[in-house]
Amino acid sequence: MSTPGTRRYLCFYCGTVYDEVLGWPDDGIAPGTLWEDVPEDWLCPECAASKADFILDED
């Protein structure tokens, strides 16, 4: 699914999913936050990989 607002991004290293619908409230990222608006210095909450290490889940 690749419609802005409903996209999901997978951490390449551990598979953690960033879902735009859900955001990541624990890190101050509100539900509905588009991937491009996620701060560039945000790290994978599970394995600390960088934002650049997430890839679009196109399923």
């Binding site: 390449f12 290293y13 551990c14 598979g15 599970e46 394995c47 600390a48 990989a49 890839i55 889940d57």
Partner: protein, 404 residues
Amino acid sequence: MTTATLDHPAHVPANRVIDFDLFHFPVDGLEYQRSMRDILGANPAPVLWTPRNGGHWIAHSHETVAKVLADADHFSSRRIMVGPHDDTRPPLVPLQLDPPHHAPYRALLQQALSPKAVGQLGERARELSIELIEGFVTDGECEFIGQFAQHLPIAIFMEIVGLPASDRPYLTSIAETAMRGETEAERGQASGQLLAYGMQKVAERKASPGADLISTIAAAQVDGKSIDDFTLAGMVLLLLLGGLDTVASTLGFYAQFLARNPEHRRALVEQPGLIPNANEELLRRFPIAILAREVKAAVELGGVTLHAGDLIMVPTPMDGLDERKFADPLTVDFNREKPGANSTFGGGVHRCVGSMLARTELRIFLEEWLKRIPDFSIKPGTDPKVSARSVATITSLHLTWPVR
């Protein structure tokens, strides 16, 4: 030995010198990581120096380990291991290439090891895992390394690269010698054998391409040109060493821990929902890789100045076992918050490209083994040992369990 008796270069402060030999330090039983931490802990400074193995720095805190791995401008991966360096051998590509040269080669591997590709491989790993365990569960015992740890990840790897399962015993044997042979000559000879095997496969795939990773690499173009044989050799050698050795080694540390800790076993049996976090916690507690980097340009690190050409050892356990980052770090706590933020898989631009596959295989081991063999222990009378150079492994691990 006191620091006063140890030689060191003029730019190394005497109070940073420690007598530590990566290849000959005493390991207490199977406690490789704890033993290293204890010995290095004699000097709490974040960066140390040892005169052993040609003389090298040691990153000794979570901050310095992470910083070295993240800073490719100052720390080159031209040299990735402590010990002699042979420039005539093909570099392990992309691991021993610095940015930006590593990127196109790394992209080739990333396609084969993406989360999507790993999802499909995971199903195969589960089938194989069940098949292996069912094969010996009624025996009440097994030699875990030979009968499981060297089968599961290696069979999956062999499928990725399209190698016949019948070659597994030969490949695991020479990979073991290449990594941990007694002498430099033995290790060099085994690396040469691995290389010759890999290049033979490259030649075969060039002549008759398949859908496997070696065929992909053999046919790939970088900057509009085919990859030359010297570089291809380095890529194949990295695949063979990385794919054959690391997950098998980690499985050994997982199994010995669970064999000796019935409460932890029971927690996972009774609450399988803990397994994903337990997997991360065990990875934090039992890293196996002792990396290194070469200093490219003078740089300040941990209160000392490293000079160009110096080598720094980067022990990945010094990140996950640093009490300034993880409270009570030697204790395995399956409920620990975010244990996965560590350097077990390296870091920076060379972070392990196969880590998603490794995580998946390790998790499947926990899930399928504990369903079938919830209680097991190390067989009395056996004496398992750690064999270590730059990657630590347990060479044999006899387990026993009640047959139900």
